[in-house]
Structure formats: C-alpha cells, structure tokens
C-alpha cells in the first residue's frame, strides 16, 4: 500500500546527493521556510488512501542541490492521526541526511516535544527557532546557545517570513549530515524508563539483525514501549519475536506498576517534563506580554461580539467576492471577447474550415477558455486570497470555535465552516479546502454539503430567472429549500456513515499581522490546483458538449428525457436539454435556454415567460440548483475523495434534484405563484 508513494519519493531522491526533512508543529512557519528555500517546481506525493500529502522540493546552496521533504505539520511522529502517520512514514522512508525541526519560539515547551521525539529516533536534528521576532516582541528572551548545549544539537534562530537565518540553517544541516554516525543516543528520561529501554535495546542488539528503517536499538526499544504498531508487528514476525515481545510486556508492566500509568503515557509525561525543563532554563520573560491578544480573543469568541463579527465578516466576504469577482469576470470576459476570441475564431476557421469540426473545437478553445477565465480567475482566485487573509490573521480559529456546535450536529466540527462558507462563492475552491478536515468521513459529509450549496453561478440563475420573472420572495425560498435539503441530507449521512465524528481538538493560534507576500504565495499554491485539475476538466467537458450540440446529437436526448422532463417535472423538452449542458457551468443553463428556445420556437422568443409559466421556471431553477454542481466540481471532488465517491455524490444530487423538482411541481399545481 505504501509502495506507491515510496517509489515516487525514491525516484525523486535518487538524483539528489543530500536530502533534508522539514518537520514541525502546525502553524510554526514551516511552509514559509519550505517556500522560501524551494520556490517553484514542487512535487506532491500522496500515500494511497491518505489525504495528507508530502511536498518535495529542491534548494540550491553553495553550488549544491539539496532535496527537501516537507512533512505535514504535526505535534508528534506516530500513528494516532493521519497526518502523524504520513509524517512518520515519509520521515523514516526517506532517510534524510538531517531533519530541520521548525519550532515556534513563543510556545517552546510544547514544540520541544516533537524535537525530543525525533532525537529519540536517533535522527540528526537541527533546530530552527522560528518566530524569534515575535518572541522578542512579547518580551520573551531565549538563550539559543544554551538550548543547543542542553539538547546537543545546533539551534538557529530564524524569521522565516523574511528569510532570516535560513542560510545558516541549511549550513548547519549540511554540517549535521557530515557528522553521521557520531550521534550520541543519550539517556534523558527517568531511571525506570531508561532501564527498561536499555534492557529491550540490549536484547534487540544481541539478536544482531538490521532494525526497520535502520533505527538504533535504543530508538526501537522506546517505540516498542510506546506501543508503536509497526515495530510491534515487525518484532512479532521475527523467529524469536514472541520472546522479545514478552520482555517488552514485562518491562512495560514494570514501568506501569511503579508509576501507576501505562508505560507509553509515562514516556509522554517524561518527554513533556523534559521539554518543560529545557524551556524554563533557556527562556526568560523580560517584560509583561501585551494584553492585546487576550482582548482580541475575547472580542472574537464571546457570544455577542463574536457572532456579530462573524456575520459581518461573512457578509463582507461575499460582498467582496461578488463585487470584485463580478467586476473581474466582466473585465476578463470583455477582454477575451475583444482580442483572443476573434483571433482564435479566425485561426480555427482558417485551419479547419467552418464545418462541424471547427465549431466543436471552438466550444473548447473559445467557449471553454472563456468559462475558465470568467470563473477561475475572478471567483476562485479572489476567494483564495480572502481565505489566505483569514488564515494568516488567525481569524479562522475564531470561526471554527464559534461554528463548532452547529457543525457537530452534522458530524463535522468547527474547521469545516470555512470550506462550507466558500461553497457559496464557488464549489471548486471549497472542495479543495476540504483538506482542513482530517478524516474521510468528515470530508464526504462536507463534500456533499458543499455540492448542495448554491454557488455564484447558481445564484446567477436564481436571480436571472426566478427573481426577474417571479419575484424576490420565491427566489429567497429557493435558498431556504436548498438549505433545508442540504442540512437534512448531511444529518442523514452522519447517521448512515459508519464511525463517528472525531470531535474538535484544535490549537488556537495567536492573531498575527498578515504578510502580503505570504498571502500571495498561499493564494498561488492553492490556485495551482484549480489550474491543473478543474480547468482541464472544463475544457474537455466543453469539447464533448460542443460535439453533441454541433452534430445535432442533442435533439436525440429529447425523446428519452421526455418522461422525466415533461412527464415528471412538467417542463418543456428544451429545458431538459439545457440542464444537461449546465454541468459545464451552471449559469449556462439560462443562456442556453433562451438560445434553444429560439432554435425551437423561432426568433420571436426573447423571454422565458413566452414558453414557460412561473411554476415551470421555479421548478426548473430548483432542479438546476440541486443537481451535480458542475464538471469542474466533480473533477476536484474525485481528486479529493476518489472518483467512486464523486460519482455517488453526483448521482445522489441528481436524484435529490428530481425529487425536489417533482415535489415543487405538485405543490405549485395546487398553490400557484
């Protein structure tokens, strides 16, 4: 199962003389260091079935090319959560020449736990004491020389945001890599734990065999005492395994009996104790920390001001997204139609004539490109920028805190709020944003909820058809109906899916002044995903639909769709055809409806009411709002959840849309609009 990623990483590593791993807790500036060092050309490796990825990049230092494996941000290396498992696997499989551990200088105590764990694995560690400027500002002085002496590793203060200290960090990494073999694995914990470790370690060393991942005996012994599943399984498979495991159980029971808690917990406790002792020896509070942080916290999380601020933020978010998005969308569409579009038209007609082939191709290179431009850049890019702002300032934490109780009822937790809010702008970035959720169960529920959230394109149809021809109240009622259906579906899915929600355990990060450079980098790295996943799907989809339309194959669908469209939904057949095309872009439904109506009923038709009554328009928009979001959404959905789940969700939304549409028709037959 692991070989897929392992092979990928091994191939990548092959041509590099030196490789470093970059480890650290979440939100300590690890990505900033990675981005600063590596720049463009980053590869992403996935473990099969795992949602957390490992980034691979290279950096050039004094004429040497160094590979950097960016591990997921974790609090520890283990198997407790998916990110920890991936970090552990990638770390042990790549055999890095040095591990650069990034520490948040303002939260030294907790951050040192991971450093100690990596040292316990016998890895060559170099510490980047990051956010040192923030520590100074909060009146915290850290003696990094002393810290280095206590830990026995180099400690380099850094300010990743400005690239300060990174040259020295890489230099220290190269020096640590050269000292390979001379690493002392010292006793650092209490006598009982260390005696148990020594006993098991001696036993393993006596067997004289190669330990997994070339671990030193002390590291393997500690992992066995910590009940590490991989090591336990490996030992169990040894010819003499049962004897060793019996010894491990004996030693663990001994530690447990002396301290009144399991050996694994005892080791965690002593590691925390040591981390705390080191932190208190090297740091000194020289002035009182400012109360601004606390005040901001209270303001953003207390019931009254918190929800008020949240409502304002969400309103502002959408206001910004729609105003700037619409502006950019019009601008780009205008520019596209003014210059590249006529040029492409001329070129395609010159090369392929004016036949079906040429017109089909134009659907892709002109229509598809136009769609990618008028959705992608204006809405997705703008949304990502706003997301980076929320993330960078730390306000995202407050949103998660406030929305957790609601999300909990749907089998999600607070961290799901952001992708869901994003869904109201565009489903594509929202689904890519599902990565903040750690379990597949949460991603499936949230993914389905997002698909049922009307995006800006569907809003355009609701506004352009219902609001324009029927009135704003029925338009609003479509949102209410959709929200009820979506919440009910999520509630049902939460009961149906096996397992239960993981519950919120989230570190609250301090508010920080956002950095424009960092925000732009964050925006770009997310936008890249849209560019390479959603945009090609949009172009391919345009080509297929173009073919169906231009060859006249389209009208073939009229007859088989008739029982559903005319019989069940009570809509004219052309309306059903436009619903097929709307999978490309939802607002296309409305434009095509008028175009096809002209084709069928003659050029006198200019407005929907000439061939559909109000009830039919309402039913049509309900169906359009609920079924499969669009090709681009399905593409990212299958990237994040796998194509089977993406197809299931798509099929489910179609059934839901037909059920709701049919129900709307029946209700409207009695209660006219």
């Amino acid at each position: 199962m692991v070989s897929g990623c392992h092979a990928e990483v091994a191939r990548w590593k092959e041509r590099l003389a030196v490789t470093f791993a970059l480890a650290g807790n979440p939100n300590v500036g690890k990505s900033s260091i990675f981005n600063w060092l590596t720049g463009m050309g980053v590869l992403t490796a996935n473990y099969p079935g795992k949602t957390v990825a490992v980034n691979l990049g290279t950096t050039h230092f004094k004429g040497q090319e160094i590979g950097i494996v960016d591990l997921p941000g974790t609090y520890a290396i283990g198997a407790v959560s998916e990110d920890q498992w991936v970090a552990r696997q990638a770390l042990l499989e790549t055999h890095p020449a040095a591990v650069l551990v990034v520490l948040d200088a303002t939260r030294l105590e907790r951050n040192l736990y991971l450093s100690l764990q990596l040292l316990d694995l016998g890895l060559p560690v170099v510490i980047a004491l990051n956010l040192i400027d923030e520590a100074w500002r909060s009146g915290l002085q850290i003696d990094h020389h002393r810290m280095g002496r206590l830990l026995g590793v180099p400690v380099v203060p850094t300010v990743a945001l400005r690239g300060q200290g990174l040259d020295r960090l890489v230099q220290a990494g190269l020096e640590a890599a050269r000292m390979e073999g001379a690493r002392p694995t010292k006793r650092r914990y209490g006598k009982d734990v260390e005696d148990a470790v020594a006993e098991i370690g001696d036993l393993l060393a006596k067997e004289g065999m190669a330990l997994p991942h070339a671990l030193p005996p002390r590291a393997a012994a500690l992992l066995l005492l910590e009940e590490d599943e991989e090591l336990l399984a490996w030992t169990g498979a040894l010819p003499d395994g049962e004897r060793i495991l019996t010894k491990v159980r004996e030693c663990a029971a001994d530690v447990g009996a002396r301290h009144g808690e399991p050996a694994s917990l005892r080791i965690a406790r002593e590691r925390h104790g040591l981390a705390g002792a080191i932190a208190s020896q090297v740091q000194r509070q020289t002035s009182r920390p400012s109360r601004v942080q606390d005040r901001l916290w209270r303001l953003t999380t207390s019931p009254l001001s918190g929800y008020l601020l949240l409502a304002l933020t969400v309103t502002g978010l959408f206001g910004f997204l729609f105003s700037v998005g619409n502006l950019l969308s019009d601008l780009l569409a205008g520019l596209w139609q003014a210059y590249p579009s006529p040029a492409i038209l001329g070129f395609v007609q010159l090369a392929f004539g004016e036949g079906v082939a040429s017109r089909t191709l134009l659907w892709m290179v002109d229509g598809g490109m136009n769609a990618a431009l008028s959705i992608g850049i204006p809405y997705v890019l703008v949304f990502y920028f706003m997301l980076s702002l929320l993330e960078d300032t730390g306000y995202l934490n407050s949103i998660a805190f406030l929305t957790d109780p609601i999300m909990h009822r749907l089998g999600l937790h607070g961290r799901a709020a952001i992708p869901l809010i994003a869904g109201g702008g565009c489903n594509v970035p929202a689904i890519l944003g599902l990565r903040v959720l750690t379990t597949m169960r949460e991603r499936i529920i949230a993914g389905m909820l997002i698909c049922l959230t009307p995006c800006s394109a569907r809003t355009a149809v609701i506004a352009g058809a219902v609001s324009k021809y029927i009135g704003w109240k029925p338009a609003l009622s479509i949102y209410v109906i959709t929200a009820c259906i979506a919440l009910f579906a999520a509630w049902g899915l939460n009961r149906l899916l096996p397992g239960q929600s993981a519950g919120l355990v989230m570190e609250m990060f301090p508010f920080r002044r956002p950095s424009l450079a960092k925000m732009l980098r964050g925006t770009w790295s997310r936008f890249r995903d849209f560019l390479f996943v959603a945009a090609p799907a949009l172009l391919a989809g345009s080509l297929v639909l173009g073919l169906i339309y231009e060859t006249g194959l389209l009208w073939i669908f009229t007859a088989p769709l008739a029982p559903i469209v005319e019989g069940w939904l009570g809509l004219p057949s052309v309306a059903g055809l436009t619903l097929i095309f709307a999978v490309l872009r939802k607002e296309l439904a409305l434009q095509l409806l008028v175009a096809l109506a002209v084709a069928k009923y003659g050029s006198g038709v200019t407005d929907l009411l000439q061939f559909m009554d109000k009830g039919q328009i309402f039913t049509y928009v309900v169906v359009n709002t609920l079924y499969i979001p669009c090709v681009a959404t399905v593409a990212v959905l299958s990237k994040e959840l796998g194509w089977r789940r993406a197809l299931l969700i798509s099929a489910f939304t179609i059934l839901l849309a037909l059920a709701a549409g049919g129900a709307a028709r029946q209700v409207l037959a009695v209660w006219t609009l």
Partner: protein, 98 residues
C-alpha cells in the same frame, strides 16, 4: 418525603466526588477557573494518545479561557499554548479545581 427526594442526588454526588477526589468533567468548568486533569476516559485510546502528545495528561495544570456558547468548545490554556476542545472531548476529561 419530597425533601428526601431532593436531597438524594446531591448526597449521591457527594459520595461519588469523594471517591473521585471531586473530579468533574471539563465541560462543567467555567471561564477563568483553573484546575488539574485527574483522568481521561480510558476507553478512548486514540484520543488519550493524541491528547498526551499535546501535554493533556493527568496532573497537567490548565486554565479555562472561554466556554463557547450553545454547547460550543471549551478553550483551555496549558503553559503558553491554547486549545479548543469540543464539548464531547471535554466531557471525557475529568478535572478538579486547583
């Protein structure tokens, strides 16, 4: 009779509290209260290990910063770090006031 009925639960609670050295679930703590962790529901192995990594282990000292409205998370401060724990997680952590 009715008085006895009313007294029963509190007497029962009192007895249990002596056994647990007055441990109550964390979600019953109020903002500003400080305490130490007594125990974490042992059947939650994964959670236990995840919390241990963060330093949430028996005898750890903490302070409650905020309790989210409408059954929202409990915000606790542990050393210099702060964590938001969902109510369901908090209900599995037994603490006593320090």
């Amino acid at each position: 009779m009715s008085d006895d009925k009313r007294n029963l639960p509190s007497r029962h609670l009192q007895r249990q509290e002596t056994v647990n050295r007055s441990a109550i679930p964390l979600d019953r703590f109020k903002p500003g209260m400080a305490g130490t962790i007594v125990r974490i529901e042992p059947e939650e192995g994964e959670l236990l290990r995840y919390l241990a990594v963060l330093g949430l282990i028996p005898q750890a000292r903490f302070e409650v910063g905020e309790v989210g409205p409408f059954g929202g998370p409990v915000l606790i401060r542990l050393g210099r770090a702060e964590y938001a724990l969902g109510r369901d997680v908090a209900s599995k952590i037994f603490v006593k006031e320090a």
